[in-house]
Amino acid sequence: MIEIFEILLSANFWAAALRIATPLIFGVIGALICERAGVLNLGIEGIFTAGAMAGWMAVWLGAGLWGGVLVAAFAGAFFGLIHAILTVPLGLSQHVSGIGVTLFATSLSYFIYRTALPDVSSPPRIEAFQPLDIPVLSELPFIGPALFQQTPLTFLALFLVLATAYLLYRTPLGLAIQAVGDNPSAVESQGLSVYAVRMGTVVAGSAVMALGGAFLTMSAFDAFFFGMVNGRGWICIALTVFASWRPGKALIGALLFGAFDAFQVRLQTEVGSFIPGQLFLMMPYILSIAALIFVARRADYPRALLVPYFRGQR
């Protein structure tokens, strides 16, 4: 018991939680933006992979770290555009298009990586983002190490949460996104293009998702591995529902998940000798389901989610 409190009260633990949460924050914010506009984006797992590969590859080819971030975002936007074209004007099933995009983005990333680097026996590395040591702030007692020894991408993620909330609730575009996810005809009857709003949103959301992948190869680690996304994208889909499609709750959800994961790793070394490790690994998923049952069920989801819109058709 004491041990558990010790863990929860240590700044390093919370620093780890935030670090683990960072790719999830990007992912859930991206997924949330897409779904707010009425488009479920199951391409996320592939978009993560594409972002991880493209961002890393760009840096490796000499683009510089922020150049890599930009390239990752563009890669995400590219696959987002495919998903957007398939699901918005063409109105195809969002489930199957998303899974198709995941397949496509993943295999294309792998294929490009392998074809470009056929002879590596150990993954080539880049100089990744380093934690920012912000002079005064990082010296603060608990908060300092937890919050201010993170890499720039973590701060970007936190900023994106704020920016997304502001965008959704305070700007004309945000209103349009919310409306198009609820009732597309409300948007069309006000002279806006449903397709433009939805496609733009999906493309932008996918670009944000890709940053989650980029974080893995450019911040959490410094090389690209096959399969390294490891289901993180799917988690974000779950977190989106958990968050009731709200940016603030999305941040909390991602942090909770990160905390579970960080906690799980620490607890495993404590009692791992008599409890199977898999039980710990299950914990975040089980708790997510439990949270859904007790917290987030019956959230008012975007009513037009999954429903394609065709102009002039009934």
């Binding site: 993954p123 070394t269 404590e270 791992g272 490790g277 690994l281």
Partner: protein, 301 residues
């Protein structure tokens, strides 16, 4: 003579430490002009048998691979293609007429790197991050732990498996957690652990491949695996027409040069190094046998 045709089937990408050693040995043979080499990586177990058959059908002279999760099927296929030699990673014995086996028997150097770690730790806490708790991993970890306790009975171990072969960010987090718990040496079974050690400015123990160049000043000691003795023997046997369904496992032992132990003498205590070197000699001379223990290692804290 014409080079013989060799194909390899890997269930993981070639970057994975284990497979990279096989790949390296085969590429060297190819560069020497002894073989032509092609491989399929990341082959799902469901597809493994088909891939084996396809290579056999293509008239490969030697097929190298990992039979661990497809033991039965692999042996069946081999039996149906007696003209092709199969050299497969396996926990079981060889099978007639053409199924030879190997494994990464580098528990010996692991024991030695454990000795170095045991005498180098100040906090008496060593963190170990593994992928999955499979025998090939457990064996090395157990030998390492045994080596460490042999020189330092007070040393304690933290063990975590991340349930993935390639999730360096996750391995890194697991390692960070151990540092938080007081570990001052990390056993790096997976990519990501040495990065954590480097970032926290502590030491790491390498496994299978030598990453000292990537982490200068961080890798205290490593247990390396060399597939060349195994591969070269198998290739020669195929060329000679003398390929036997033998157990190539021992060629991973130190005495054949299949395993080796390296230590950064700038980082390790000189006494510890000489103790380990003495033990190394005993092993090479056959005077000391490192225990083989395939059971899952557990934290001792």
């Amino acid at each position: 003579a014409d080079p013989i045709k060799v194909a390899a089937i890997y269930t993981v990408p070639v970057e994975q430490q284990w497979v990279s050693r096989i790949d390296k040995a085969l590429k060297a043979a190819q560069d020497r002009g002894e073989i032509t080499y092609t491989f399929s990586e990341n082959v799902a177990n469901t597809d493994y048998e088909r891939v084996m058959r396809e290579y056999a059908e293509q008239g490969m002279d030697l097929v190298v691979g990992e039979a661990f999760a497809v033991e039965r099927a692999a042996r069946k296929v081999a039996a149906e293609y007696p003209d092709t030699a199969f050299l497969m990673g396996s926990s079981f014995g060889p099978a007639k007429p053409n199924f030879a086996v190997f494994d990464n028997w580098i528990h010996e150097p692991s024991y030695l790197s454990g000795m170095i770690a045991g005498s180098s730790t100040k906090s008496n806490v060593i963190g170990m991050v593994g992928g999955y708790a499979i025998p090939e991993v457990n064996r090395l970890m157990n030998a390492f732990m045994e080596g460490a306790t042999s020189v330092n009975p007070d040393v304690k171990f933290l063990v975590t498996f991340i349930n993935s072969w390639y999730d360096p960010p996750k391995a890194k987090e697991a390692a960070f957690a151990m540092v938080d718990k007081g570990a001052d040496i990390l056993y790096a079974e997976r990519f990501g652990v040495s990065d954590a050690a480097k970032e926290k400015e502590i030491l790491a123990i390498g496994n299978v491949i030598d990453t000292a160049g990537d982490y200068p000043g961080t890798i205290l000691s490593s247990a390396l695996w060399h597939m060349e003795p195994t591969i070269d023997r198998a290739v020669t046997a195929v060329v000679d027409g003398s390929f036997e369904p033998a157990d190539y496992g021992p060629f991973s032992f130190m005495s054949y040069g299949g395993g080796s132990f390296v230590v950064d003498e700038g980082l390790a205590d000189a006494d510890a190094v000489s103790a380990a070197k003495a033990k190394e000699q005993e092993i090479l001379d056959g005077l000391f046998r490192v225990n083989v223990n395939d059971s899952e290692p557990k934290s001792t804290m």
